[in-house]
């Protein structure tokens, strides 16, 4: 397996086009923190973004920044923190915090902050891609408000590199909050837990994150507030949690580790991680499914996204047991486990996705087969 790591955008595009004209398929590699996302055949050319690792632009006053795809997310976040800013994204970063900006955007990965700020598609302002014919194309812009042209940055976000290789990404920044506080409440009844989440999601608390953790018939709710008055607001949230029937309520000002744990439970080396998406009101069913399949679950209660960690042999029964309206995507899996990432998908929208792929990557060179429907 040949690995090439071009050091310029032009070089990257040229390598991609050269591989395409040789009829070779290409796998695009970021930090390699999600091996399941880009399994490569032996004859594929692996194009790494590792040397595309510079900050293209960051004017603090604009609250926007443009990063080359290979910039490690943790490094970007550290740089921004020096200016009192952050990316409002907190996906798990994998071994040695290896995940890159490009990889996170390409896989649409996110963490607890998705409750308030959405996923990468909600944060990207502009994207520069290399297409398989060697074209370098920009779309979007570097200002936060722009409707010139199609919003292709959203199309590339979460496309798993199947349309082209992301070379650079412009993102919206937020101010680092003055202070945060996390309120935790525990319970052993899935309906009480779901009721508390439903209440908190509808209340005007302006929560940064509203997460659930669940394992073997018990779990809890985690809510984060941020701002100047975080501590006093945390008391209000704690009161509401108690009202909803949650017990063992706790407030933590130094709350980083709780969220690190939530993020960490979205990943696994030894078991399979299944992302279940759908209506947030389906939370009680998801909790019961987790128990039935001996799963550890963390998720975004207000959004309707849950990560279930299960034994690989449980994946298909779990998928089959999903109520209508819920969808399952298999993320991490133990090395060697043969699991269907997307499950069966058909319908006119899948055909439309196929047509999009055919336009952007007509030769089927870029990460082909990694998207739903084998696209």
């Amino acid at each position: 397996m040949e690995v090439v790591t071009p050091e310029s955008f032009a070089g990257f595009a040229a390598s991609l086009a050269a591989a395409a004209s040789d009829g070779r398929s290409v796998r695009i590699l970021g930090g390699g923190s999600k091996p399941w996302a880009a399994p490569a055949s032996d004859d594929a050319l692996v194009l790494g973004t590792g040397r595309l690792d510079w900050t293209v632009e960051h004017t603090p006053g604009d609250m926007t920044a443009v990063f080359a795809a290979g910039v490690p997310f943790a490094r970007a976040q550290a740089e921004l923190a020096l200016e009192g800013q952050r990316l409002a994204l907190d996906p798990p970063l994998g071994l040695d915090d290896r995940a890159t900006i490009g990889g996170i955007v390409a896989t649409g990965d996110s963490g607890p902050l998705a409750h308030r700020y959405g996923t990468p598609r909600d944060q990207v302002l502009g994207v520069t891609v290399a297409l398989s014919d060697g074209t370098i194309a920009r779309s979007g812009s570097r200002v936060i408000k722009n409707v010139a042209g199609y919003d292709l940055p959203k199309l590339y976000a979460g496309s798993f590199g199947t349309l082209g290789a992301i070379l650079a990404v412009g993102l919206r920044l937020r101010a680092l909050p003055r202070a945060t506080a996390t309120i935790l409440g525990g319970v052993a009844d899935p309906d009480v837990l779901a009721g508390a989440v439903a209440y908190l999601a509808k209340a005007p608390f302006e929560l940064e994150a509203l997460d659930v953790a669940w394992r073997s018939g018990r779990g809890g709710v985690l809510a984060q507030v941020a701002g100047t008055a975080a501590t006093r607001r945390a008391d209000e949230v704690a009161f509401a949690m108690r009202d909803c029937g949650l017990g063992t309520i706790d407030i933590a000002d130094d709350d980083g580790e709780f969220w690190e744990r939530q993020r960490g439970l979205q990943r696994s080396d030894t078991r399979a991680v299944v992302l279940v998406t759908g209506p947030r009101t389906a939370l009680p069913s998801v909790l019961r499914l987790a128990d039935l399949h001996d799963a550890t679950m963390v998720g975004r209660g207000g959004v309707g996204a849950s990560y279930l960690t299960v034994d690989p042999e449980q994946v298909e029964t779990l998928r089959a047991a999903l109520p209508v309206g819920l969808h399952a995507v298999v993320l991490d899996r133990p090395a060697g486990a043969e699991l269907d990432t997307w499950g069966v998908a058909r319908g006119p929208e899948i055909e439309l996705m196929r047509a999009v792929k055919a336009q952007f990557d007509p030769a089927g060179v870029c990460n082909s087969g990694l998207m739903v429907g084998g696209i």
């Binding site: 779309s139 200002v143 759908g278 952007f360």
Partner: protein, 480 residues
């Protein structure tokens, strides 16, 4: 298919009363809010259901007739301009709110429902944040097509951040269901803001959010726009996240306050209208910080609205700025451009320079938080050459925005009005990537052709990577 035959088929689908083909009656549909561009179509149809939209689009596809969907026609870029010999599909009869589910935080609506009706359906506990100025009449279908913003999108985001599902009729009449929570490409993201060129949304799922616990509204008066613009940067830099930050220069301020008095000072060089919302404890702290920053930024007077009526009056004046300007000048051209926020003061200075150079007054009212300018170029169409000069000036302002790393449109869209400016912002390769998306959705190019992309290429004409010609392979020819 002959025109008469097409009209007969359209009547068969929508009923005689809902197909307009008399040229005089069609003048209602000859433009959108940008009256400079007008065109009488072959017909306008008013379908009553998604099924009828599908049937109309299928018919257009078979007859190879272009069509354009139309909401309330409040767009400001000619996006809903009809096509010669084409069909306008008016969606005003699809105006049902299908469901309101606050547990899920989702409203499902037909495209003809107005923007404000969504918030009305979920209030007072919840709100639908995108709030374009025309929200009383503009429709959700149009908002989706244009990715509508509004004054409060600095904190809350745009239409695209709230659409979680779309049922779309593609240009060949296929109905597709797109949902945010289903795996696959983000086709909703691609569709929102596509200006009617990728199909017609016939059912729209919108996320709604809990209404803020408290709202604080402040007006700060400055000596000039540069000082006001700098104050915006210091407020945002200090981690205060206002829900809205609106800036008016002296010209706009005077016109607006005279038309709809809200208590603004007439002797100020610029006014900043700032709104904070959120939990009570946060807005209280934020307000203190905000006042301090405005004062240290040179504000010479500050007013804090203490009751709802006062707050509404301040907003009423701001929203009256555009109509008020049109009263003061025989005609106005409303421009829409964006600059990175740190370049605000700088671009305003350039606009001032251009105004002098062209000899035309320019009033500035804009969403300062996100650098979205709305300069109003005032002119008199009765004076020979002045209309042309006004458009030239408006174009020159856009170039100033692009030169500073900004955009040619922040919320009005490209439509027909700005398609010529797309190449100022994008290279041919960039534009070609847009064309690829369009070809995937609408290879025949029937859904609102001529908008958004300057000169669409034919679908299927896709140069692949360089390949040797058979003659080259055979060694019989060489390329130099």
């Amino acid at each position: 298919m002959e025109a008469e035959q097409l009209l007969a088929s359209l009547r068969g689908i929508c009923g005689d009363d809902h197909v307009v083909s008399d040229p005089h009656a069609l003048s209602v549909y000859d433009s959108d809010g940008l009256r400079q561009y007008r065109q009488i179509p072959l017909a306008a149809v008013l379908p009553a259901s998604a099924d009828q939209v599908v049937a109309v689009v299928r018919l257009c596809a078979r007859a190879e007739v272009p069509f354009v969907a139309r909401g309330a026609g409040t767009g400001l870029s000619g996006g809903a301009l009809p096509h010669i010999g084409g069909v306008v599909i008016v969606l005003s009869r699809l105006r049902q709110i299908i469901s309101v589910d606050l547990g899920e935080g989702v409203v499902i609506a037909e495209p003809g429902v107005t923007n404000l009706a969504i918030s009305a359906a979920v209030g007072p506990s919840h709100v639908y944040p995108p709030d374009p100025s025309s929200q009383l009449v503009c429709t959700i279908g149009g908002n989706v097509a244009e990715n509508a913003g509004g004054a409060h999108c600095f904190k809350y985001g745009f239409t695209t951040n709230y659409v979680v599902g779309l049922d779309v009729v593609l240009a060949d009449g296929t109905l597709v269901e797109l949902r945010r929570d289903r795996p696959g490409y983000d086709l909703i993201g691609a569709f929102v803001g596509s200006e009617g060129t990728l199909g017609i949304a016939v059912r729209i799922h919108l996320r709604v959010v809990p209404a803020a616990e408290s709202v604080r509204t402040v007006v700060a008066f400055f000596d000039d726009v540069a000082a006001a613009a700098d104050a915006v940067s210091s407020v945002i830099g200090a981690a205060v996240v206002p829900a809205a930050v609106e800036l008016m220069d002296a010209l706009a301020l005077q016109a607006a306050e005279k038309a709809v008095p809200g208590g603004y000072r007439l002797d100020a060089g610029a006014a900043l209208l700032i709104e904070l919302d959120g939990p009570l404890l946060e807005t209280a702290a934020g307000l203190e910080q905000l006042l301090e920053l405005c004062l240290s930024g040179g504000a010479r007077d500050i007013r804090v609205a203490t009751e709802v009526g006062e707050r509404q009056a301040l907003w009423a004046t701001r929203k009256a700025a555009f109509p008020a300007m049109t009263q003061l000048s025989p005609a106005c051209y409303l421009q829409d451009g964006v600059v990175p926020r740190s370049r605000l003061a700088d671009v305003l200075e350039a606009i001032g320079r251009l105004s002098v150079e062209f000899g035309l007054a320019v009033a500035n009212v804009f969403h300062a938080g996100d650098g979205n300018l709305h300069p109003l170029v005032c002119y008199d169409p009765g004076v020979p050459g002045e209309s042309e000069r006004a458009f030239e000036l408006a174009g020159a302002i856009l170039r100033e925005c692009v030169a500073r790393g900004g955009s040619i449109t922040g919320e009005h869209g490209v439509g027909v009005d700005k398609s010529a400016f797309m190449s100022e912002m994008f290279s041919d390769d960039d534009l070609d990537s847009f064309a690829r998306l369009r070809c995937a959705f609408d290879p025949a190019g029937l859904s609102n052709p001529g908008k958004l992309i300057p000169t669409p290429r034919l679908c299927g004409e896709r140069p692949g990577p360089y390949q040797q010609h058979p003659l080259e392979q055979a060694g019989l020819a060489t390329r130099f």
